[in-house]
Symmetry: D2
């Protein structure tokens, strides 16, 4: 069992850390909010007073932070963890951040003999709680081989996307497709219903036909089509629209750096920003359905 420093105990990090505890690992945990530390301490984790304190005895560091700047702040610079970690430490950086930033952190880690993987997740808070997350991993295959049991304590599908940064690239590609097909499904549902079709019937026809996609399979945006989907629970739970806007922004940043044209992805971002202007950023991202119906 590893001695793990887990940093970042938000909606995703906390249940991920909990699954590692359940699997028998020793965790020392840190977050800027003491409440999250206390909660895990009750379940057997060792509380840390700072990120530096958390890593003192660690063989493994796992971080789950909100955005690129937090990851840069944690690892890089004179006070960054990379300067404090012992050679050979394994770092699993699970935040969703810009591929370029992930590459920078990788390079800094390599210079110090630290093994790092960028490993953003998909699956949302439900997947984090159930231990069924998908990890998209960038970095060396042999490092992933070593880290695999840890990922498996937190997730189900562990993909090796490629070299450093590739996990982030795979994540933004995937989430861009997800956002676009969510909006496309919402448009089609609204148009079909306005033309007299039963939502359940239309959803089922498309699901089984060439329009089939993950949102039709698991996450229909029309209220009442799927009992357990956020759409049927007032668009609560799930994956917040503002987080989808964040990921679409990372995708555009990536496209900008590589000169790619992504008209659908760009439009998806703009439509999510319209939703945010309407105050719906904290609702599940399938709330984009409401753009296309009278409110």
């Amino acid at each position: 069992m590893s001695q793990i420093a887990f940093i970042g105990l938000g909606h995703m990090g906390l249940p991920m850390a909990r699954n590692l505890l359940k699997a028998g690992h020793h965790l020392k945990v840190f977050d800027l909010l003491p409440a999250a530390i206390d909660e895990l301490a009750k379940e057997g984790a060792q509380p840390a007073s700072s990120a530096l304190d958390a890593i003192a005895q660690a063989d493994v560091v796992i971080s789950m932070l909100p955005a690129s700047r937090h990851v840069e702040g944690l690892y890089l610079g004179a006070d960054g963890l990379l300067n404090a970690l012992k050679t050979g430490t394994l770092v699993l950086e699970c935040s969703t951040i810009a591929p370029q930033v992930a590459r920078n952190v990788h390079h800094a880690a390599q210079e110090r003999g630290i093994e790092l993987l960028d490993a953003p997740v998909s699956g949302g808070t439900a997947g984090a709680a159930a231990g069924t997350l998908t990890f998209m991993v960038g970095g060396a295959a042999k490092v992933l081989a070593k880290a695999r049991p840890l990922f498996e304590a937190m997730g189900r599908n562990i993909f090796h996307a490629g070299p450093e940064g590739a996990g982030q690239v795979a994540k933004v590609c995937n989430n861009q497709v997800l956002a676009v097909q969510m909006i496309a499904t919402a448009e089609a549902m609204a148009m079909g219903v306005a033309n007299g079709l039963e939502p359940v019937v239309l959803a089922e026809i498309m699901r089984q036909s060439s329009g089939g996609n993950w949102t039709l399979e698991k996450y229909n945006p029309w209220p009442g089509v799927m009992e357990n989907a956020p759409a049927s629970k007032g668009y609560s739970g799930g994956f917040m629209a503002e987080l989808m806007a964040k990921d679409l922004g990372l995708a555009q940043e990536t496209a900008q750096a590589s000169g790619n044209s992504t008209p659908m992805g760009a439009l998806a971002l703009q439509l999510y920003r319209l939703l945010l202007k309407q105050g719906k950023g904290k609702q599940d991202f399938s709330v984009v359905q409401q753009l296309f119906t009278e409110q």
Copy 2:
């Protein structure tokens, strides 16, 4: 076995008619191109000299025509088939046309005591040949019950979408989602590859994740990812880009009539029209991939 008049023997109609012949039905067939008639005549169909000749003894009429105006021309007006068919004839109108036109033909049929279904298909020429088409059917459930064996001779999934016109609405909804997710997939493939990912790896990660959709499952637009996909065969075969543009145009016509906003669907149409301007209308619709890569 029914006495069937089959009108419209193009890339789709001809193999559909052939499957009905194989199932033991009696067919009298007509097309504006004599070659198609001759081909089926060799296989046991009775050639007709006109649409009116074809329907003379028919219990069932099946039509598969290019566009709304051809369907209006065949059935409506003083010289239209609806004025010539006997009461109780069953009409399976399988063309992909505007829902409003389908409703008009339905209403005219009802006035004359003729049972009609709008039943556009998906599955392409390969599905037509293999008898695995999907039918999306609009009209009365009891008429569909009667027609079901005929559809099953030509296809595999037979959906009852709803009342008159609903088959067409389901089709345009489905194909709009299909076009959008094809483009979204193509954008993501280009962006991922430009950022260093292996196409096969990226495709597989998205397929198994929340970006999963039919194009990733069956029809990846990046050459070489799927051996049998049109993308791996020079974008030949499959479903022509100009036919996708046609369907997206019908979707916009439908949205216009019902006042729906479909930003993704509208953008998909515009991008397909750009492709057509580049002379790629006869290639498979996954050729949209080439918009996003250097040519």
Copy 3:
């Protein structure tokens, strides 16, 4: 002075008819709403009991109707005016309709020896009242020469756009550009202000630079930038968003018929439809500004 039948006395038609009266013409007027007829009757027009009654003695017919189907209904078919008008009558069809419908009416008029011009207007209700409308005219130059004094009684700029239907084509092209640049201006105003610029300063810089356009010149969508713009009067007056959506729909219908790709125009239509879903269709079309700001 001509003997004019004026049909269609809505927000635009009524002030246009009034300007013809002021110029000394004899008008017999008809509308489905008696109130409008009564109002003009008080000002010297002769009331008609039907469109057919209105045209009985007319040398000139002017029509100003809401949409394509009304124009088809008025002029075409067995009961249409074209069957009742005497040879040599001059018809000024000022409605904004699909170019294809305008061409159909032209051809029907030509067969009956009637001189017709399609002559949609821009300038809104204010321009109609002030007699400063712009007319975009399709049809023969020599017919326009004859009609010019009548147009000049109602407007200021009289453009000969080309042959039959060209007036409508010019109108949809113009209004599509107008809608797109209104939205582009609104986006830029919101972005500039969010980044600390004074709206009046930003508006003035763009107006005088390469971003300059008619909306910056006459019709800024940001409240308070221009005292007399609808934006400064709660988006009242001006040109209703739902009418802009109608014109953008005609543009898409035109693009569909000719196979043109118009990504900006298509997106503008979708954004206006989002506004309509929000219940803002009756406000001035510059209310699109509110899509881009918190409400």
Copy 4:
């Protein structure tokens, strides 16, 4: 007359420096390409061997560089010019860069008692040569008052956009509107011509109507409409498509930072990137016309 260090002698910087020379100023000039230095040296400028050499005696520094990273590299960091300039130096930073970067350079300058203005230009190489550029200036009004004669030696319209960074914000807002209306005009020209209108006639109607904008006034994208426009000279000269893509990218970066939704601006960027993929990045930005016509 000022002692000016001019750094960055590209397509824009060189003619700007020349106009300052003509106005009687003393210039010491630097560029990474010696040819540009030599050219100006022949016209009376003093050549510098480095940026540091250029500023040795300068009262004023003017820089005109390609992108944000060059400006950061020139001014910031331990080796940056801001550490070498004497207190009270006036810096006119004329590059087009991200507003956030401009603000960072402003703040660093303020800490060192250096007066800086961000002053991006519009007007292209022709405007630079003719001394008719537009300057959009961010920074203190009293600094602008001091700098105004220098700007007037290089340009015609000098706008005070607001505080630090405001010049860059105004520039990206303006250029985003410009790109969108260029594309909108190109779409409309293609659609009108495809529907039978004469390009010159359509252009003139829109120019005088509510579709009027700067591109219709000065820079029509349809070949032959305006004799001196790049479109009539094989899309040579003018403002390169790749530079417009750069500016649209800055606009999206700005929108991302402030959370603005700019669907038209985002789509414009994607369409320009499609053009770049087609190898047209070095042509004038009005070449976007060719997206909408058969090539």
